[in-house]
Symmetry: C2
Subunit: 229 residues, 2 copies
């Protein structure tokens, strides 16, 4: 049964996915999916997911586990032996926080759910430019994956992958979120700590800089105030 008023939204609980969920909710009834994959901050992220889902009054929620990404490893987010590197936002190579092909794993599960629900779209909060340069956050990847969705689901499913933030700067994402009333104080972006944001990882620095550029104080506590230029 097609239910074209529904859209699945992948929500980690960070600022990008929370703004994406709020955008999706302006057009669809959102079905929110959260994935624990053995990342260091998974308990804190799950709490953030719950807060965003409550804020959006989401009736459809699905929390799943992808322990295989932890077993496969290859990333400082899932392998405790690899330290999370300090931020370097000018770096050209891909940092070790990259979880190999993670977004394909997340999107595949979200599309499976969308196909069963009869949902029309899957939203992902990927950001291409103003980011850490992960290959599975690029628009070219999303476009190719969208094509695979058209070929690999039931004829007539008509599920599209929607990435409203992919070409936005992080500062613009903050402003968009504020305009939609996103409770940023409940979101969590840090890669390495669950009590206060570390302030030194890529994700903390990108977030802190985004709020600074938007001229708005970031409402979450930091262990170390990020040095951003």
């Amino acid at each position: 049964m097609l239910r074209p008023h529904l859209a699945v939204v992948l929500v980690s609980g960070g600022m990008d996915s929370s703004v994406t969920a709020a955008i999706a909710a302006t057009e669809y009834e959102p079905a929110l999916m959260h994935v624990s994959y053995g990342q260091r901050t998974q308990a804190r992220e799950l709490r953030a997911f719950g807060a965003i889902a409550d804020y959006l009054k989401a009736k459809h929620r699905l929390v799943i586990s992808m322990d295989h990404l932890r077993l496969i490893g290859g990333s400082s987010l899932t392998d405790r032996r690899l330290p999370v590197p300090p931020a370097d936002l000018t770096r050209a190579d891909i940092p070790n926080s990259y979880v190999p092909f993670r977004n394909a794993n997340l999107l595949s599960a979200a599309v499976s759910w969308a196909e069963v629900l009869g949902a029309r779209a899957v939203y992902l909060g990927a950001v291409e430019e103003d980011s850490s340069g992960y290959p599975d956050c690029r628009a070219s990847f999303v476009e190719a994956f969208s094509h695979a969705v058209r070929e690999g689901t039931r004829p007539g499913s008509g599920i599209s992958i929607v990435t409203p933030l992919i070409h936005m700067t992080k500062a613009r994402i903050v402003k968009k979120g504020l305009a939609l009333g996103v409770p940023f104080e409940s979101t969590w972006s840090c890669y390495s700590r669950e009590d206060v944001a570390c302030g030194t990882c890529d994700s903390c620095c990108l977030r802190y800089r985004a709020f600074a550029e938007a001229g708005i104080p970031d409402p979450i506590p930091y262990h170390t105030i990020p040095a951003v230029s």
Copy 2:
């Protein structure tokens, strides 16, 4: 580190994936991945996987769980409330044994592992024509997904998706497997039973017909001898 002598092979333990693994092993050192996703026969399939991995003397083995496919449901293979339908090999629609977008989930995990291992290829035993008509077994899906792999993995990973059986008839797959010495007596294809093959599901009928057309007795026991024409 690139290890171009390695290839990841998805092995359910059925006849197609077992022949695919044997083919892969003629060109690569195979790294075998098995996925339990809440399907009815997962214990029996895992046993078949172990037998095939032992036969190929595979050093790299990874067994993972994708419980989310069971939670998402929508298929008679993962939802015990939906009966597995009797075979209808002339049917035009997609039977309820289709697990929505399953192969994208399996391939995504396999590509993640391949990227971490530095493997050159991922093998999948999908069969397009002589099959149940699942959309995620079509060559057009595999081609689109391959493009997503090129766009969504680290530059230089060079991982290709290889589906050596996709345009073969099942009878030809049986002959190919025999030529390679695949121990078909250890493989398991039935969708619904773990003691003897039911002989009534699509998978049993496709397999039994394949052996009949190849002129070779199928070495596994059946509860009911499939009626194939």
